[in-house]
Assembly symmetry: C2
């Protein structure tokens, strides 16, 4: 790694996180799982992986089966999984030991073994490159620092690296939905509520920093992406245009579907209930996965999604009918002004 | 209806079931639901509709809300639903009264109110037309008679009509998975186990009669479809070719995913467990909906679906990897001869 990775161009994935993900040996904490099986005298072990790591499932099952007593069954969850908000509760009920891989705990529970899977990609080369976008410490010493669960193992290194270069690094743990200091989720950027006008996000993709920039429009969000080897500034303009267009379309809706998501960490019952309580043309729809087909079947004019905000904002354009966040709903029915439109974040656990 | 419907061609849906479905007033048994709410002092009512009737959901909710006490919440399930095997158990747990529309009970339970929704399409015009395909009673008096849940209200009329024309009508109730005499499901044709070489299927589509013909290859299955206004003979040749091709592809598989379906009426745990017990390269995957994306993520070579057989046989070609039934799996690994290949039927309830 080192200097080499900063010489590659965007899209060149040699030795980046994407390549490493497939080459590397992760620590699946097999010993911890085996110990739980033994302690609980378990006859079934359930494994749940996020989408990108599902193909590792059979190999982890192999490793476990080689050590497990005869007759202990290993089950792998085939349900989609996009976060610690998205535990396979059906599998949790059916198995004696339930292991959730790849996300940090949203809420600790004796029923669940969380196995974090940390990226082994180097972060300092891309941070070096990000200095071109950060204001220099002599001009603006304060910088917020955030990252995602998979790079959390390098967080102290990131902070030290910035401090060595003269920055005052502002970090905080967000709210109870977040496990670690400096951690952000796709739906929660409370850890960026720091006294700094510039925030450095170190992590893969634009999914998280775009939410971050939306949630903190007063701050400049610099994206140092060690996975795709690129530094950019989060730009919310296109995103905002898309939201305005969706809200405008939703303004014509006569009948509304109000989605209550049954995923364990994605339910906002009070918000969903309040909408149907006050609108006779709003219908409460319950589901786990929120997909275009599932909504279109109901033939309603527009939908409010009280579940995962990222489905609404990121997948929304794939839906045939406008789908809005709870606040966008209030804007669409005239209860709030359009200029107040903000990113929908999710707080609390379950 | 009457003669008019027999003059139309296939695909002409005027006044057929498809048109009627959208024009008609069904009996949603609102009174029975209201009574259950009152008796149980319920604060939540859950409604589940099959896919084709989901857009009626908001109207049924309107009718209920007009009569329900203030503060009673009506929830509509957004989960896909393809049969009484496919109850929204999450909704059942969350609601005080749970109503399942459009299917006959697979298993009675105090928790569930089943509301059958019967088609109002006339059946005798298409039966008249089916006489051209049935052997005449003087040549072959015995005829089996089967239909689906939605035409069950006309079953006595169908039987009487055939008897008036000199046929000996053979009917039976299938096994415990079936509520009514003469009823078939997409996965169960035990009601056609009758002493007759010709079986008349009265009902919409080719989905059911194709399964019926596969399950009873010794019988001629005449399809009298009052919904699409067409009479045909069930032809399993194309279907069988597709199954042979899939099994052949699966013969090359080194690693297998074994799907255990978590839908209440689609679980066959013993079958799934037996496969993984005896094959170290087979992995137990649990899920509710079985979709191409969910399987492809695991990167295995082939899949055995122990859940709904119709997903395997009817949707199978949409899957990127071969997906087979449990018996087809045994053929693919050499435990059974290819010529024994039979339709996968589903018995029992839960």
């Amino acid at each position: 790694m080192s200097q080499e990775s900063t010489d590659r161009t965007e899209g060149d994935l040699r030795n980046t996180g994407m390549a490493l993900k497939h080459d590397r040996t992760w620590d699946y904490e097999i010993e911890r799982i085996l110990q739980a099986v033994s302690e609980r005298n378990a006859s079934t072990v359930g494994l749940q992986f996020p989408e990108g790591l599902k193909r590792r499932g059979p190999r982890v099952a192999d490793d476990l089966r080689a050590e497990l007593p005869d007759g202990v069954r290993v089950l792998i969850s085939g349900q989609p999984c996009y976060g610690a908000c998205d535990l396979d509760t059906e599998m949790m009920r059916r198995t004696d030991v339930f292991v959730h891989f790849g996300h940090s705990p949203m809420k600790e529970s004796e029923k669940i073994i969380y196995v974090p899977l940390f990226s082994n990609v180097e972060v300092t080369p891309i941070m070096e490159k990000s200095l071109a976008e950060l204001k220099p410490p002599e001009e603006e010493p304060a910088v917020g620092l955030v990252t995602t669960a998979q790079h959390m193992n390098k967080f102290d290194e990131m902070r030290a690296w910035l401090e060595e270069r003269g920055y005052e690094v502002h970090v905080r743990r967000g709210d109870e939905r977040l496990t670690h200091e400096g951690q952000v989720l796709g739906c929660n950027y409370a850890s960026a509520d720091v006294d700094a006008d510039q925030v450095l996000y170190v992590g893969g993709g634009k999914f998280h920093p775009l939410g971050l920039a939306m949630e903190h429009p007063d701050k400049t969000v610099i994206i140092a992406d060690p996975v795709n080897n690129v530094v950019t500034i989060a730009d919310t303009e296109q995103f905002m245009k898309q939201r305005y267009a969706t809200v405008h379309k939703a303004m014509d809706a006569e009948e509304w579907g109000v989605i209550y998501c049954t995923k364990i960490g994605q339910g906002r019952w009070e918000i969903a209930e309040e909408i149907v309580e006050n609108n006779d043309s709003a219908y409460l729809l319950t589901m786990d996965e929120v997909t275009p087909d599932r909504l279109t079947n109901f033939g309603l004019d527009a939908y409010v999604n009280t579940g995962c905000p990222r489905i609404t904002t990121d997948d929304g354009p794939q839906f045939k009918q406008p789908m809005v966040t709870p606040q966008e709903y209030r804007i669409a029915i005239g209860e709030e002004p359009l200029e107040d439109l903000a990113f929908d974040t999710f707080h609390g656990t379950w």
